[in-house]
């Protein structure tokens, strides 16, 4: 494996808050998913790669060159930041063409590249509208467009799918996968496991500034399967519902919420439980008002994985 991005003993802290802790990591071409809960250090890592921050200890190199204060690198890097921030007074077209000016292209090439990038993200029709008036999904897409407009070999995407509707997500996922098929390197972060899963099987698990694991996504899937899920069901008669579940082997524990209308179930087999719940509702004519999973997020899974 030839590492495109190499981090060695990389540490970064903000005052006395640790952002990244002794990270040594190689990222090869293809898509790598950076997976971790909010505040895990994903954005810090990406900012270090893109030279926006200086490591306190260690170093990060892209194609063998340090990224801090090395603008030469950015001809080959496209970065899509996490923050929903723009030059709001600009139109989508002005934003993308304006940033393309910094690559030394001719005026005609700038127009050509901007048109292509905006076409890829399906913003051609809205390119002359002010970004201020864009929907969240459109803003995400124009942010993506500025990251790919110069045709970079390495694309760093910080939470690119956040705020997109399912259709928008699917389109962007398809686009990112095309980058992989063109032999490029894509590093994409998310705190939502299914998003990363849809993009790649190569993941890096980050938690509290440390790399917990790196490799195939299947192993974390297995860990998640062994993690007991809590499911909260609010219904008109939670006790009647509980009575129907008592004999079900998929359920490990049950308790009632303080409001008297909620049944909280703990299970290792979520799919089996939902099958059982559907049956119970249909047979018992029990009205279910809401089903939620208080710990169905990466934070809970990570806390489970690190033994909290």
């Amino acid at each position: 494996m030839t590492a495109v991005i190499h981090a060695s003993n990389l540490s970064k802290w903000y005052g006395n808050v640790l952002g990244l802790n002794d990270v040594t990591l190689d990222i090869a071409s293809g898509i790598t998913g950076l997976l971790g809960p909010n505040g895990a250090g994903k954005s810090t890592f990406m900012k270090l790669i893109t030279g926006q921050m200086k490591p306190n200890i260690g170093q990060v190199t892209v194609r063998g060159r340090k990224s801090w204060n090395n603008p030469v690198l950015f001809r080959d890097i496209g970065f899509c930041p996490e923050n929903d921030v723009f030059y709001e007074e600009m139109t989508g077209w002005e934003f993308v063409t304006g940033l393309l000016r910094f690559y030394g292209y001719s005026a005609s090439e700038i127009k050509e590249r901007a048109a292509k990038a905006l076409d890829i993200v399906e913003l051609t029709k809205d390119k002359d509208r002010l970004i201020r008036g864009y929907s969240r999904g459109m803003r995400q897409r124009v942010k993506f467009a500025q990251a790919i407009a110069h045709d970079p070999e390495i694309v760093i995407l910080d939470e690119p799918l956040s705020g997109l509707d399912p259709l928008g997500k699917r389109k962007l996922i398809k686009l990112i996968k095309e980058f992989k098929s063109q032999g490029r390197t894509v590093l994409v972060s998310s705190h939502v496991l299914p998003e990363i899963e849809a993009l790649t099987s190569e993941i890096v698990l980050v938690h509290q500034g440390k790399i917990l694991a790196q490799g195939d996504i299947r192993f974390i899937r297995e860990l998640i399967e062994s993690h007991p899920h809590m499911i909260s069901v609010r219904s008109s008669d939670p006790r009647a519902l509980a009575a129907r579940f008592v004999g079900d082997r998929s359920i490990q524990k049950m308790s009632f919420g303080a409001d008297g209308r909620t049944l909280v179930v703990e299970t290792h087999k979520r799919d089996d439980f939902f099958g059982c719940l559907t049956g119970a509702v249909l047979e018992g004519r029990i009205e279910v008002e809401e089903i939620s999973s208080p710990d169905d997020n990466l934070q809970a899974v990570f806390e489970y994985l690190v033994g909290k």
Binding site: Y14, Q52, P71, Y87, E89, G98, F102
Partner: protein, 263 residues
């Protein structure tokens, strides 16, 4: 990587285009109408009389431009060269491009300076020629106008460089800038001896056409009073040095400092 000269030009174009559209520019352009309105009011009150009174009120306008308008413009535009990118978190878009960081500071400084100069030029020319409407045949009028415009232009360059530097090093640069621009500058220029030379406005005033007290300006000439003016050549040189040094410092700080967004 693009050469620095080209990069500065591209950044200049980007921010000149953006700067024209911001709410800040609209507000400050409106502020520039104040002396124009004042000039119209004075002209109406003077009933077309020209001469000394017009000259006096022109000096009053210059006080507005010199000690308020260009200072407040330079303060808000200068500090924002870097600070608005950090506060707005748009810095990531700029520093992940293949251009040297100093080019960002220089290009944005140049774009904002031109923008401010245009605002000042429009406001000064309107108010000046309204005030001196009866003297269009006098060639000295145009020379005076050009010297005023030149002084204000130099003031913009020097103040903006200083405030740009403040914006690169301080989080609350506006506050420090306010104290400097309306505190230090207003007080120190009236200190006798060499102390007054530690203010930018001292060099700007040294370049203005001198109207001695008791002359045509009467007591109002006190507004542009100067103690011991520096010679024009030295004053221009000092203003150029102030602009150059603080701009160089701003570039150096921006290149070496790591900017973190507030969470």
């Amino acid at each position: 990587m693009m050469n620095t000269h080209r990069a500065v030009r591209e950044v200049f174009g980007f921010f000149l285009s953006l700067g024209r559209k911001t709410g800040k520019t609209r507000v400050f352009a409106l502020l520039g109408l104040v002396p124009v309105i004042l000039a119209i009011v004075v002209r109406v009150v003077l009933h077309g009389r020209t001469g000394d009174m017009a000259a006096v009120f022109t000096e009053i306008l210059m006080v507005f431009f010199l000690q308020f308008y260009i200072v407040i413009l330079a303060l808000f535009y200068g500090t924002s060269v870097v600070a608005e990118e950090v506060e707005g978190r748009t810095l990531s878009y700029l520093i992940t491009r293949p251009i040297a960081k100093p080019a960002i500071v220089l290009g944005k400084y140049a774009a904002y300076s031109l923008l401010m100069f245009l605002m000042v030029a429009v406001s000064l020319s309107l108010s000046f020629f309204i005030m001196n409407a009866g003297r269009f045949a006098d060639a000295r009028l145009y020379l005076t106008f050009l010297s005023y415009l030149g002084v204000l232009g130099l003031g913009i360059l020097a103040y903006t460089a200083f405030f740009s530097f403040l914006g690169t090093v301080l989080k609350k640069a506006i506050l420090v800038g306010l104290v400097f621009g309306f505190g230090w500058e207003n007080v120190i220029q009236y200190f006798p001896g060499s102390t007054q030379r530690f203010s930018v406005v001292h060099y700007l005033k040294s370049l203005l056409p001198y109207r001695p007290m008791g002359g045509g300006g009467g007591g109002v000439a006190l507004l542009l009073f100067r103690l011991e003016p520096t010679s024009p050549a030295i004053a221009v040189l000092m203003l150029a040095v102030i602009a150059g040094v603080f701009l160089a410092l701003a570039c150096w700080v921006f290149r070496t400092k790591e900017y973190l967004y507030e969470e």
